[in-house]
Structures are given as C-alpha cells and as structure tokens.
C-alpha cells in the first residue's frame, strides 16, 4: 500500500541530546492516528521535522504519490503541499475576526500579488461558512478571535487547518484544557476530518485517545516503542514499564 508520509531512520540531536533516534513511522492516506509518549519522547520534534521547522541530521521524509522528499523544503512550501499543523497552545490571530482567520487559511493562491488582488467571492464565503459550521463557530464569524473561549480557539485553529484542505493534519494536544463536553466535540471533528485526510493527533490524555478509537503509536526516547490498537499497546510490557508504569507509580 502506498503511504502518504514515510519517515525513515530520522535522527535529530540538540547539543548532544538525541531528541529523535532512528525514528521510522508511516501514515496511510486517510487514517486517524494517535501518537502518545512521555514528556521528551520527541513528539513535538517529530512534528517540527515533518513541517520543516527542524532539519534532521540523517534519515528520510518521503511525501505523497510522487515520493517527494520534504527535507530541504521551507515551512510554507510544505504547508502548500498539504500538511497542516495545529500548535499545542492555541495560536489564532486574536486581533482578527473568526472569518478573517478562516479566510486567511482558506486554500487559495498564497503569493503576495494574488493576495493583494484578492477579491471576496461567494464561493469563498460559502467555504468559510461550511468550515465554521463544522467547528461550531458559524454564529461567531464576526467575533474577534481574541474573545473566544479556550475551547473555541482550539476549534478555530482546527478549522483553519480544515480550510487549508490538507492531506495530512498534525494536531498537537487538541484536548488540552477542555471540558468533557468540549472534548467530545473535538473528537467528532477530528474523526470527521479523518474521513478525507490523514489526521495525526499527539496527545497525553489516555481517555481522549481511547475515545478517538484509532491506531496508536507510542514514542519513547525518540523512537517508536510500540504500535497497534490502544488495548494492544497498553498491554505491552515495555510500554507499561517506560510510560504507563511511571504514570501510575
């Protein structure tokens, strides 16, 4: 089966510390995947590598049907290839309205000239409305993003990812700081998104991962420790030792 993203043999060292150690991980075209692991396991560094923020010392990152290498591409080029990223801390443009946030993310030409000449169209407006509907912010389009609640900001950022129409969404701790009801809704938004594109969720919270009900990859010390269903990995003795055991100790 051809993969959407293949990461193989990647190593990253920060000042002698091996953040990522011979990491190999693959993602299929439309799958929902959770990545878990203790602090310092390399979850965020893994996202940084895929999105072009961090250059690995060695290894390969191969993307899409053309087997394109993502190494050496800039963040904006990678984003245009269809990889969207949500940060751990919700980062939306707080000074602008929900509509402006979504309009900026909408899949459209990104060059300064085409942006300067950009005209509002009915087609764009309806795309914005459909995304806003998906994330439950249809009534808040004219509100300034800074006024939104923490959960709504998280959804708005996920909405901005959806508006990009990506083929791979990397989502860092989407449920952090959310109430149980909000978590429920976040789960359904992500599961819905995973029907059309690959969604990779990095999460600490086991309960949230259980609700996602998907394949789980456990990272530890910069490489994959175990992979499979949540029940499979949680019954794995090494996983219990390095991660769960420590959490329950």
């Amino acid at each position: 089966m051809s993969m959407l993203l293949e990461v193989s043999g990647v190593c990253v060292t920060f000042d002698g510390f091996r953040a990522i150690n011979n990491l190999s991980i693959n993602f299929a075209k439309a799958e929902l995947r959770a990545i878990i692991g203790p602090n310092g396991a390399g979850k965020t560094t893994f996202m940084d590598i895929v999105t072009g923020k961090t250059k690995p010392d060695e290894g390969k990152v191969i993307w899409g049907d053309q087997n394109m290498s993502l190494l050496g591409m800039s963040e904006s080029e990678i984003a245009k290839e269809g990889i969207g990223r949500k940060f751990q801390k919700p980062t939306v443009f707080e000074a602008q309205t929900v509509r402006q946030n979504l309009a900026m993310a909408l899949r459209n030409p990104r060059s300064p000239f085409s942006v300067l000449m950009h005209k509002k169209t009915q087609a764009n407006a309806s795309r914005i409305e459909s995304v806003a509907d998906q994330i439950g912010l249809l009534d808040s389009l004219t509100r300034v993003a800074g006024e939104l609640s923490h959960g709504q900001k998280q959804w708005l950022e996920i909405g901005m990812l959806l508006a990009q129409e990506p083929r791979l969404m990397l989502v860092d701790e989407p449920a952090a700081g959310m109430t149980p009801e909000e978590r429920e809704k976040t789960t359904s938004i992500l599961r819905e998104a995973a029907k059309t594109c690959a969604v990779v969720v990095v999460e600490h919270d086991m309960e949230f991962v259980r609700r996602l009900d998907c394949k789980v990859t456990v990272l530890h010390e910069g490489s994959v420790l175990a992979e499979g269903s949540l029940d499979h990995v949680t019954s794995d003795q090494t996983v219990i030792d390095v991660y769960l055991g420590r959490a329950h100790a």
């Binding site: 904006s76 443009f93 602008q96 309009a103 900026m104 990104r110 942006v115 300067l116 950009h118 509002k120």
Partner: protein, 388 residues
C-alpha cells in the same frame, strides 16, 4: 455582503475631507491670495509637515501593521531628497553658468560648461570632477526615477538579506539602525560625491521657474505634498484593509502560524518593507525642495528614531494616528525649539525649552507607551464609543 472600499474604511473619507479643507484653507490665507495671514515660510513648514505625515503612515504600515520596527525609514526619506536635490542643484547651477558665459568672444564648449558647473558644485569639497553618481543629474526624469529606484532597491537588497536570515525583532531594528548610520557616515565624507557635510543647498529655487515668487512655489509644493499624502493614505488603507492586511497583521502577531498556513512570510515582509521605503523616498523628494537644504545630518540615526516616536505617540496600527502623531509632534517640536515656547523660570533654574524639549519628548514617549498604548489615535475610539 460586499461593501465598497470607502464604506468599509470611513476613516479614509474623513481623512481626505479634513486634508482637503486644510489645504484649501491654508491656500486662501496665504500670501498668494494676498490675505497674508499665513507667511510663506509657515506654508513651507506646513507642506513639510504633510511630507512627514506621509513617511509616518509608511512607518505605521511597516511597524504598526507588519510588526517590523524599522529604524531606517528616514534614511530612505533622505535618499529621496538627495535624488531630487541633485537635479535641482545641477540644473540651477547650469542655468547660472550658461547665463554668465553669454557674451564670451568664443562660445564655451559643453566640456567647459560642465567643468565650471562641477567647480561651482564641488568647489566646497575641493573638487571639480563629477562623481559617477551624478551621471543622470542633468535629467529631471531620470532623477525622479532615482527617487523611487534607489530607496526601493536598497530596501529590497537589505530586506532580502535580513528577512531571509530570519532576523526579527530588536535585532532587525539594530540592523536597520546600523544601515542608517553607515549611510550617514558615508555621506559625511567629502569624497562621497554628495558634498560631504555641506549637503545640497539652494533646493528651494526651482530651475526654469526663477521668475515665479517663492510664495507661489511654496503653495505648489504644499498642494503636491497634500496630494501625495492623500494618495499615499488611500494606497496604504487599501493594502491594510484587505486580505493583504490580514496576512501582514498575522505576521506581526504570529509569524510562525502564518508560515505554517503556507504563506512565504519573507516575501510579504519584503513587499511591505520595499513599498514603504519607496513611499518614504517620494515623501523626502517633496520635503527637501521646501526645506531648501539637505545634509547628512538629516539622515542621522536619531531621525529614524523620531519617526518611530511620532508613530507611537500618534497611535500605531491606525494610519490616521500616525499622521496625527507626525504633525502634532513635529509642529510642537519646531514651536519648542524655535523659541516659540516661553521659558519657565523656577527661581533657582530657568527651563529653556530649546534644551529641555528633548527631555519633554522622551518623557511623553515613555508616558504614552506605558499608559496610552493606543496613542492620540486611541482618543477617537473613546469618541466613537460615546456616540454608540
């Protein structure tokens, strides 16, 4: 749901209307109409102030909207002044030289004329050769092109190098300040080709219009400055109000987020930096013929810092705020330093405003930044809120 540009930006209409009333009012009260209530020199001061407003709104776009604290935009302003000054000085000297050589038994060759002009212009720095950079000085059209091209290219190259290396924040400010200092120090040298610290002078005399009174010339430049300010205002309001404005405000607030949305942040910064540099150059080209003289001191790093202070006091992130700040502070500055403000006698010490104005300005800057981050422009918010 689509509204016209003006309907979305009511401040544009207000700004243009007030500017138009002001321009017509000053003209009616000037010496041109014979009313003589506003002296020619004050018309020039007001015209210069309009040019400062123009460079201030450019500064607001690059700093207030895009978040790049450039401490070098006054250098672009100065370059624009030098570019037009070269033509003004050359053409006027040429006129005088040709006139003085009339009636010679042998008509002078073009080489002789050129030598005399060179001697006249560069005599003060002990030279008579035309430096290479004066190659186009005889052509008004080419020098006008230089007004746009030189600041534009300098900003493009400098910005490309700086933004590509992801220099941001205070480090970028320091770099722009270093560029400004380097340029000023270079111009101070006698062999810079621009008359060292003498600068270019006599710029108020417009070649070909020797018979026109300064009163008329001052009004023409005043109008030209007002039109340039109006056009600049509309242009920048258009840029910052659309999707482009969204993106550059996004860059100001969170550069990384914009990058991960797929926008090439460096291109946007370069666009904003270069466009505003060009507008600064145009403002300078209108300012210095009214000032009459330009010298390297005008480009000194402190001038660019003043520019940032004007925008901060006026209220950054709103174009009219920048214009108000520039007009208010620069006019107040000339009032205080020009001896307009009465000295304050404290008994044991007499405060002379020519010395203490900078202290007062510095103090106001601190107060505004700490307590009124929205600046003077923020007062309009209070006004609007009261009405609604």
């Amino acid at each position: 749901m689509r509204k016209s540009f003006v309907a979305q930006n009511p401040s544009v209409l207000w700004f243009i209307a007030i500017l138009a009333i002001f321009t017509i009012g000053v003209t009616l009260l000037s010496e041109v109409t014979g009313v003589n209530m506003i002296s020619t020199s004050f018309v020039k001061t007001l015209g210069k102030t309009l040019c400062l407003c123009l460079v201030a709104i450019a500064m607001d776009v690059v700093w207030g909207y895009c978040g790049i604290l450039s401490l070098g935009h006054f250098a672009f302003f100065g370059i624009g002044g030098y570019a037009i000054g070269m033509w003004l000085m050359y053409a006027r000297t040429e006129g005088i030289v040709v006139e003085s050589l009339v009636g010679q038994p042998l008509p002078p060759t073009p080489q002789e004329i050129s030598d005399v002009i060179g001697n006249q212009i560069f005599g003060v720095v002990g030279s008579s050769e035309f430096p290479v950079i004066w190659s186009f000085a005889d052509s008004l059209f080419l020098q006008l092109l230089m007004v746009v091209l030189v600041p534009g290219l300098l900003a493009l190259v400098f910005g490309w190098l700086a933004f590509r290396s992801r220099v941001t924040g205070v480090y970028l400010s320091i770099l722009t300040q270093a560029m400004t200092l380097a340029l000023a120090l270079y111009l101070f040298q006698n062999d810079s080709g621009l008359r060292g610290n003498n600068g270019l002078s006599g710029l108020q005399n417009i070649p070909g219009f020797e018979d026109v009174s300064q009163a008329t010339i001052s009004i023409v430049f005043f109008w030209a400055s007002a039109v340039a300010l109006a056009l600049g205002y509309v242009f920048f309001a258009w840029i910052v109000s659309g999707k482009m404005g969204s993106v550059i405000k996004g860059i100001r607030d969170n550069e990384a987020r914009v990058r991960f949305l797929g926008y090439h942040v460096e291109s946007y910064k370069l666009f904003v930096f270069t466009t505003t540099a060009i507008v600064a150059g145009i403002a300078g080209a209108l300012y210095y013929p009214q000032a009459g003289i330009i010298n390297p001191g005008e480009i000194a790093p402190i001038a660019s810092i003043y520019l940032a202070v004007w925008v901060a006091i006026g209220g950054r992130g709103r174009l009219y705020g920048a214009a108000i700040g520039a007009a208010f502070v620069s006019l107040l500055s000339s009032w205080f330093t020009g001896g307009g403000a009465p000295n304050v006698n404290l008994g044991f010490y007499e405060i002379q405003w020519t010395d203490w104005w900078l202290v007062l300005l510095g103090f106001s800057f601190v107060v505004v930044t700490l307590f009124f981050p929205k600046g003077i422009g923020g007062l309009f918010d209070l006004l609007v809120r009261k009405q609604s």
